[in-house]
Every structure is written in C-alpha cells, then in structure tokens.
Symmetry: C2
Subunit: 280 residues, 2 copies
C-alpha cells in the first residue's frame, strides 16, 4: 500500500497533506487528507480523529472550511478526512446523476446489491483499510476518535456503534440519525442493501444505539434552523434510543444555526476538545 503525495500546505505550524493510494477494499484510487499538528515532529505517537464528510463533499471541504487546524495544532490531534465515496471511471454513480446517491454519497456502509457491491464498501475502508494505512505510514497511535457531518455524522455514529473498542471517542454534527426512516437513507439503503428492510437495521445509528453494549459518550450538535432537520436528520430518534438504553448522549440543539460549514466551524472546537479528552 503505497502513498502518492498530492499536495502539502503548512498550516498552524503543522502540515495539511493530501495523498492518493490504491484502495483494495474499494477497487479504485482514493485521495484522503491528513492534518499533522506540529507535535508530530517531536516523536510521540499522536492520536487520530477521523472526520467523515457529508453528501457531495470530498476530502477537501472539512480541511478548507471547518477551521479545525488551529485547535488541533494546540491539542496535538491528527485529523484524517477520507473522501465520501469510491471514485473513478469504473465506479457507478446515481443513474439519474443525483447528488444524494453514489459518487460523493457512499453512506459509509458495505453494499450488498449489484452494481454497487464491488466498489461501495466505505465502512470497511474507513474502519479498516484507511486506519491501517495511516498507522503504517505516520507516527500515530492506535487511539482513534471519529466524527462527521450529516451523512458523515451517520457514518461516524454507525462506525463507532458497530465496532466496540475500535474508537475511544465519537461525536457528530447534524447527523442523519435514523436513515431507515428518512428519504436520503431510504433511497441509498434500498439500492445499496436491497428492498429487505431487515437488512437496513445494522446501518441505522438510532437502532444500533438502542442495543449498544459499549457506553462511549456521544456529543451531537444540531442547528435548529437546519433545513433538513425534520425530514432527514431526526435527532429525536437518537435521543429516544439513548434514553431507552441509558446511553450517555449529549444532544445540543443550537438556536439559529443551519446545516452549513458556518455551523460546523462554530462548534468544531467543542468536538475537538471532546475527542482530545478521551484520546490524549
């Protein structure tokens, strides 16, 4: 597994770098971004926060717009941002060219249906292949946190809930909390997983949370002026599941905030501190 450097920018005394590599899991070339804080040059192995982005994003959106590097540099946190789907000419996208399925919209699951099953295995890529690659090529520890926004918030919650012990911290901003019961999730799951809804359960954070054995504290922020709140995001399902199972969830409804990166940037510091407290 070799890495090809795509770009490199000094940032807050550390480095923002982008790499291309061949992904065996996804059967295509992938690009990811990594923020290496200045402490990386002092030899100690640093913890890694994985950030999963939302629909239409690539590895670039978070690194350009969230403003996370300032505090990550202070806290000594490495941040890794993968792409949001497999990419390339050989990867099928939405048949109608829509932005909410396929390319840029992999939903961080392992597809079982054709023609998606060959490439759309973002869960295994994010949970297994990418951390192995990062841990083999950078001076990082195996202390991992995971977070994300919208579709990536769904991804972060599901990756943590499905893999007890793999992450020491988890959080999300405006996650798709109950994808089996919203239009984005129903469209994606019916194609990736087929029409048998019983197979969807294992990719729904609210359903997984109700049965979770691990008690990893969750921080979730949600803007109350988010256009997708009622139809797509449904944090109340996550809250009900946490209450029923006694899971420690801090869900904060942020008045006036929408679904944009202006919302993410406003609260990213709280998330970084949440992760650093568990990872450092």
């Amino acid at each position: 597994m070799s890495l090809e450097i795509v770009s490199s920018n000094k940032s807050f005394g550390g480095w923002h770098k982008r790499y291309r590599h061949r992904s065996a899991t996804l059967g295509c070339d992938m690009v990811f971004a990594i923020y290496l804080p200045p402490q990386i040059e002092q030899g100690a192995k640093l913890p890694v926060l994985y950030w999963l982005s939302g629909l239409t994003c690539s590895d670039e959106n978070f690194m350009q717009k969230a403003g996370a590097q300032r505090l990550a540099a202070e806290l000594g946190l490495v941040i890794v941002a993968p792409d949001t789907s497999p990419r390339g000419a050989e990867v099928p996208g939405d048949p109608d060219g829509a932005w909410d399925f396929g390319l840029g919209a992999g939903f961080y699951l392992n597809a079982t249906e054709q023609p998606w099953a060959r490439h759309y295995r973002m869960h295994d890529y994010v949970v297994e292949e990418l951390p192995a690659l990062v841990e083999a090529n950078f001076p990082v520890s195996e202390r991992r946190g995971i977070s994300g926004h919208s579709m990536g918030g769904h991804g972060a919650l599901v990756c943590a809930l499905r893999n007890p012990g793999r992450y020491l911290s988890v959080s999300a901003l405006a996650p798709i909390s109950h994808p089996t019961q919203c239009p984005w999730g129903e469209k994606a799951f019916s194609r990736f997983l087929g029409e048998d809804r019983s197979k969807w359960r294992e990719w729904d954070a609210s359903l997984l949370l109700a049965e979770a054995s691990e008690r990893l504290p969750m921080l979730v922020d949600q803007g109350d002026r988010d256009d997708f709140l009622a139809t797509q995001l449904k944090p109340e399902a996550l809250q009900a599941a946490a209450k029923a199972s006694g899971h420690p969830l801090t869900l904060r409804l942020q008045p006036g905030y929408d679904h944009s990166y202006y919302f993410i940037a406003s609260f990213i510091d709280d998330h970084l501190r949440h992760h650093a407290a568990a990872l450092s």
Copy 2:
C-alpha cells in the same frame, strides 16, 4: 441604494450575510459578504474591517476559508468582503479568458482605458461606495481597517496609502507589493491604465509608501515557500520603501508557508488583533 439579501448563516453567535446591490460606481450588480459579530445586537456601533481578496476570488473565499469569524466574534469586529471585480454580462473580461485579468481580477484601481474604464473602478467602489452603503445600512462606526491577500493585499495597501485618514489600520498577507515591476501588475496596469508607465505609479504600494505622509503601522505576513514570492510579490520593495521613508512596517517572513488559505488561516488572528487594537 437598496440591499437584497442573498443568504444568511449564523456563525459563532453572529451572522454571515451576503447582499446584492446595484453599484453606481461599477455600473453592475455586486454581491458582498458581511460578518456581523454577536455584539451587533447590543447597540454600540462597531468598527469594520474591509477584506480584499485575491485573483479569481469572490466575496465567498475569505468567509469560507480564513476562519476569521471566531476571533472577530470575540473582538466585536465587523468584516466586509467585497467581490474582486465588477461582474455580469455587460462587463468585459480578459480577451483570452485568462484568470489574472478582468473578471475576478479588478486590481482595486480605477481604469482609464477603454473598454475597461466604464466598469473597472474597484478603488472607488471599495473606498467610497461600499463603506457608504455599509454605514447606512448596519450599526457600524466610521472606524475602518483594511486588509487583503495577494492582489487584495496590494489593494489594501494602496487604498490606505492613497486615502490618509480614511483607515485607522492596514495590513496584508502576501501582497503584490510592487505591481509596476511584476508580470501580474504589468499586464493589468498596461490594459487598465495604458502604456504610459508614469500613470502606474499612483497604484503601486512600494512607490506610494516611499512618499506617504501618514504613518499608519503596517503588518505584512509573507510565506517563504510561496510560489509567487520572487516573481510577483516582491515584499523586499515594500521593505526598502518603508526603510527609506521611515514608515512603521512589520514584515514577517513565515517559514514553510505557501500562498494558500492555509497560510491565511494560520495568521489571520494576528491580523484581526492588529486591526482591533487600532479600531476598538
């Protein structure tokens, strides 16, 4: 002069808003962005920092990528980011469609040559029309600072140097410091101002600085791994002019940094504090 709201996002307790308006100076519709920190709702008139962006940018780049809102919210600074040129079907661009002249590349001057003279009057727009509009429509004071990046750094320095008393603070990141002696400036000035180089002098920060009457302290940051440093930016000309005229210039060469927004974000807080100290 009426304002039409384009978008509004809550950001760090304040608001990022975009407005469209008809510009009499430029003879076209223009969009600008404004960050209103949370203190705006407390009634006191706040100072305004004008940010001028670089080649190819619009009002959006700085607001999305610089990460300035966090500290602006803390300091109580309004930030206004105009577009980088006149826009619209009636506005001529580069005859060859290049990105370094015309649309997205107005160079913050008043053109005298045809076909540019009708619309390309970005200096008067930035210095006169836009502040008048902002001061008439928002609870801001007449305490103004100005800053910018690359072509916008040139613009900020020239606007301040040409208009003593109009700004209480000035700074720049990687400015085009001596445009009469670099390819970007020579291309733009020869078209906007004609081939008589004696008319270029009044739009060159290094030449203006040598004769400046006002002693406004200047903060300039420049990355030493900036690909444009030697050919286009030439901060040494600015430094020589400041030394010759005894002007207070703090020029910092930042090791390892390039020309990107990763550089801007890394040092924007220092610039906001520089302005706030003079404006508050």
